[in-house]
Subunit: 415 residues, 4 copies
């Protein structure tokens, strides 16, 4: 290849991994404001899931070891109270690994939105990446452009913020001790990892106190917002010197809600950043949680078939779901909209598992409709028509049921 | 005006009004499938609210008399189990009445999403319609294109469905007897109205049993989905012969969630329909709730500033909101995102009341982000940059606070 | 209808008509900056075309009497050199007249892009308006949302500018004396009309000197830009005191290029304006021609099938069309792209006339591709997939030819 | 990096280069239908232009050596008369070379749309790529997402088609012998190159007869259509066995018209393809030129400031440009719209050269408006507001002139 000698590629900076949030994890690299750089990320499970046709790896996944994060990255000059501006300039899979996966986790190992209702058994869809598009041999009939994004990105907590998290979640866990699946996960030394050569007592403290990575929190974290995609600009509150940004859980694509828990198309790959700092920005912009500007290149699938969901008679139970007059139950409404969409997709020939995986992984849009029309909330879920290779619209003659086979299931055949 | 004699305008059909849902309300008009027709609608309160600068009319609004619906409209040939396809071809204000209103209701008379947190007092914004745009002397600095739609549209319930509603909601009311605001409203003869000359015993039965119109239900109803806008095509389940479609609560514009309860820009006006029937469509398309195709002319405000909301530390209470591991609290996350947006708007100079009204009325998009990342849900709220007449983006130097005055408040000055 | 007494509708102002451009036509109405008002417009031909199934009215249309314009409207305070800001707030058909038409004109009476190649005979499609949508019994299989706009809108010329036009076009006419169709039309008293009670000598001067309305010019005029639609904001140079804005030729919809000359869906209706003035704006913004901001509600038909056109071998003539190295022939490239699209539509079963009418009237997008790759220009024409009621994409098995009948033709049957 | 052993990356296939179109250039690689593969492309000039601050390399560029194409690629089973379906799955710069350039060529060495009017001297802007965005130290104040695409892509001509081209263009050249710049370029052995080990007589024949690559032709070629971007699907006619696809001239971004000739952001990089064949597709789809489906991820810059251009008084010459009544002069109208935009940008502080480069390189949209309103054509040019880091809208107080310096110019300082 002929190139000019005056080309200066963006550097790839990555020297460490960790899977807990803790203020004492030192940065593995330091960047200047305004510098563009790449970060390599392994997939969230640390390569526990393979490109094959069995879901046994999903069934047996070790969730104490997640999420595998790259970082922390210190940004020169950042101090508590500042706003860290992060331009997510690109997100892409490794050239050597043009595939990802979406999984339904078992009820007692990870769960997912319908884990109880469906008594979920492990299922999987492998997605092949062809440039901007994903397709799957396990969910035929669709092809869509990825809204690629980091599922998980956040700044490091201060000691005080970490203590708040642990107290807040500890109380919740205490109040729901025996639930399956568990409502939250406390700090857990088993599986904890910080890929740096640190003194033993520091490591032990991190492993003993470090917050788990599943929930999103005030610093960002595992927010699973599909529109935090390549091209977006994000504003994070800074809690420690250097901000100490970490990132991982790259998604090739995801639907609003990422319902099957491992519902995005999970991938390993490269993310490109450029960071800057606004002094005192937390107060200037009232950053209680991050804010962001979406990307101009998010896919334009404007034509949609939209399903409404009302927070009543959920899954046919005849019940009224309302918490109080000011808290219509939008989660139940979301689930009802999703069930309505799943049922429709099953009329088109998809299995329930395929439909569940598809709605989790495709660029599905879910909006809050009515949330103050007590006692019922209304949430919508829109399926882009353009991702299907056939016409899914309601027809006079009804829907044509096709044969799409089945997704990857367990080797014992239990679904 | 010079016109050809061979012009045949679409007919305007409207002969009746009602404000309860009941299977015994006879249709006031019958239409053929494929016929385009207009329906006139008064505003949802029945003209209780005026174009003025005081919110006393909001404070004293009589909510037993709502929602004022036009219909029922029978569609020839429709039978229970069919799908009623409704093309919403246009929605517009009366030429004689180019204005609408958005209200914050009092805690003990209507409430709203933040009624308790804000101890809400009546507030109001009058919006002037200039073609496709709305502006308000009570919320200066913004101008936006309306996503005009019916807040409330639905088919009539069968006797069985009505009984189900009354039982389901009756149990909820019984379980929350003393809450303020009330969690739901039982059938109530006071204020009930059916604008037809019916036998007294029929009227009394309707008034005694008729379901209230606030919540959306299986037939559609008050779903307050902003994208059910002019140009959309909706598929409703049919429960009674003729389908008996009713419509009202026209909105010039609304944000996802319509948070202040009377949060849309409420208006009186004309809606244009064309209906058709798909025999057996309820089963063919698994219509547990309506489904729809959005309009191609919904406004394109693609650039947005998006606020994240996490279901923790709501309104600074330090609490963890999680119902159980499969029910992250998306309503709290939505409220948190809204509060974050309100706080930001206040930094720009809007009062809390103006911000609350604006987020309710403008084409704000609210998406479900994370709903399975227990214990925290994440919901986003996106403000279109293009509706503001000034730059609202975060700036190095912070946000410039302007003076936007105040919205319409009560004559006693209490806010 | 229940309305509040404090409603003040926007006034409808219209007292005159004219069909020539001349500085001596006095304004028929005067408006204040910031005032919203309606203007009624008859269709461009003055109701010469009927809602029927014969194209004889197209064949015999009197083109000396066009375009019927409403105005002039004086804006208080406007002076030469200012910029007139016109908000086009709404454009809609009369309720009493929910239809419009698209015509192919005869070679020797109006012509059109392919008048010579097709030896055009009069053809017509009547379009029915159902809210935001148009459909036609003469072009079945399509339904689309209108990008409604004024085909013709402009400020009055100064005496100097009018003289420039007449000189410039006079020389062109002189140089192409015997061409059919004529290259341009000189001032023509026959058919000229100013609907005001003016002194006879003034009228005669206007009729003798008044510029014809077909071409767009420095003041705007008949630019036929589909995106000058309801919701757009336009900036016009002002040449006379009061600006003297005139408008007409309302289009329910149009494709880029409006190729069949009467190619838009022509209609009578109401346009809503709000005008303001920027002093000295012509110089401030270098307004040699108008500039504008498109509407946020132009239809979103993002998925398209795009045809390329190259400026060679036009219509199979084997020729190379290049004017010189800096003037690749984009008009021929546009025509070639259109021919390619017409041929494709004919494979789907449309007649050549139907295809020609459809591409003229539907929201077709035509972009300049290559214009400096001498000797060939490249222009594209994109057909929105979403306007068709069937799948038009290329298929392995080829295209299915359907029977769409024929558009309205002459009573003598000659096509 | 942890990866699963079962990853199979897409192969990178490239073994040859050529810079002429000829049927006798053998394919350098053969692919199966349905296979995804990468092709590396050097920039169109073959690395003649450097990442520096002088335009001397533009001034002295050798245009006999362009365009450097990668290919030909044979697709198994393709035969004359078939349709070659090419999915352009991705287009991106080399990681080692995150920059590109836009050039204004000298009047007598390449030219460009305004070469004569501006008496063009060499100018250049270097663009830095940061993920999906481009910025330039030579054109400050803008940042935009790239609509990355191949400027040049096409199938190989048959002997007959090549002969047609050479005859057609030869006649044109003969008719315009002494024009500067030349109207077209005949086959030219100087600079011709085919990077394969072929018999000398074959090479000499190719060099003697091979069509130059500047113009787009029936097979596609240098069409410079910005929306032939990553994610698009293109349908090409096949003229020789194997189709023999070649590609090059990768653009990171381009405006409609690519007006400065080397107006796109030229880059070296990788393009990802997947090809399939539709037997007999040329006839099935009437493929006189290629057709295509645009990508769903083309940037959404919906808010625009649009400039109208009318084909009169071009560049202040007072002339009327009309070829005949059916050929309004859309190229002059395009140029006028571009000049109006350039003048406006100069009021904002850009130099004429910077404005010319910016309009060539940014995602500017240019639509055909009126093309049948004889004697004047109207073309529009829309500048996306979202690419500017400041507000470019017309303001009451006029436009604020900023200092943006100057683009890269010649070392002798002549502009």
């Amino acid at each position: 290849m002929a190139t000019k000698a005056n080309s200066i590629p963006h550097p790839t900076l990555i020297k460490g991994l960790h899977n807990r949030w803790h203020c004492d994890i030192p940065p593995v690299v330091s960047v200047k404001p305004g510098q563009t750089f790449n970060i390599e990320c392994i997939d969230w499970t640390g390569a526990q899931i393979g490109n094959n046709d069995s879901s046994d790896d999903i069934k047996n996944v070790d969730l104490t070891a997640i999420h595998n994060l790259s970082g922390p990255i210190a940004v020169e000059g950042a101090e508590p109270g500042d706003c860290l501006v992060v331009d997510i300039l690109d997100v892409r899979p490794f050239d050597q690994m043009p595939w990802g996966y979406t999984g339904i986790f078992e009820l007692n190992n990870g769960g997912g939105l319908f884990a109880r209702e469906f008594d979920s058994k492990a299922c999987k869809a492998i997605w092949d990446f062809n440039g901007i598009y994903a397709t799957s041999r396990h969910v035929p009939g669709v092809r869509f452009a990825g809204i690629s994004h980091p599922g998980l990105i956040g700044t490091a907590p201060s000691p005080e913020l970490l203590a708040t998290w642990n107290k807040r979640e500890g109380e919740l866990i205490a109040a729901h001790k025996d639930e399956v699946p568990a409502v939250a996960f406390p700090p857990e030394p088993k599986g904890a990892y910080v890929g740096q050569d640190l003194p033993k007592d520091v490591l032990e403290k991190i492993y003993r106190e470090g917050a788990r990575t599943v929930p999103g929190r005030e610093h960002g974290g595992n927010c699973d917002i599909k529109n935090l995609s390549r091209g977006s600009r994000c504003y994070f509150p800074v809690f420690v010197k250097g901000a100490n940004l970490s990132v991982g859980d790259l998604h090739f694509s995801q639907g609003d809600g990422e319902m099957s828990f491992c519902g995005a198309i999970e991938m390993a790959g490269i993310i490109t950043f450029n960071c800057s700092i606004i002094k005192g920005g937390t107060e200037k912009f009232a950053l209680k949680q991050p804010i962001f500007l979406p990307s101009p290149i998010d896919p334009m699938y404007s034509a949609k078939l939209v399903f409404e969901g009302i927070s009543v008679d959920y899954h046919g139970d005849g019940k009224q779901y309302n918490m109080d007059a000011l808290h219509c139950h939008s989660t139940v409404a979301y689930k009802q909209a999703a069930l309505n969409a799943i049922t429709y997709l099953m009329k088109l020939g998809y299995t329930r598992e395929q439909a569940y995986l598809l709605l989790s992984a495709a660029p599905v849009e879910s909006h809050i409709g009515a949330i103050v029309d007590s006692p019922n909330a209304c949430v919508t879920m829109g399926l882009p028509l353009g991702i299907f290779e056939f016409d899914i619209l309601p027809k006079e003659e009804g829907l044509q049921k096709r044969d799409f086979g089945q997704c990857a299931i367990r080797s014992d055949g239990v679904v």
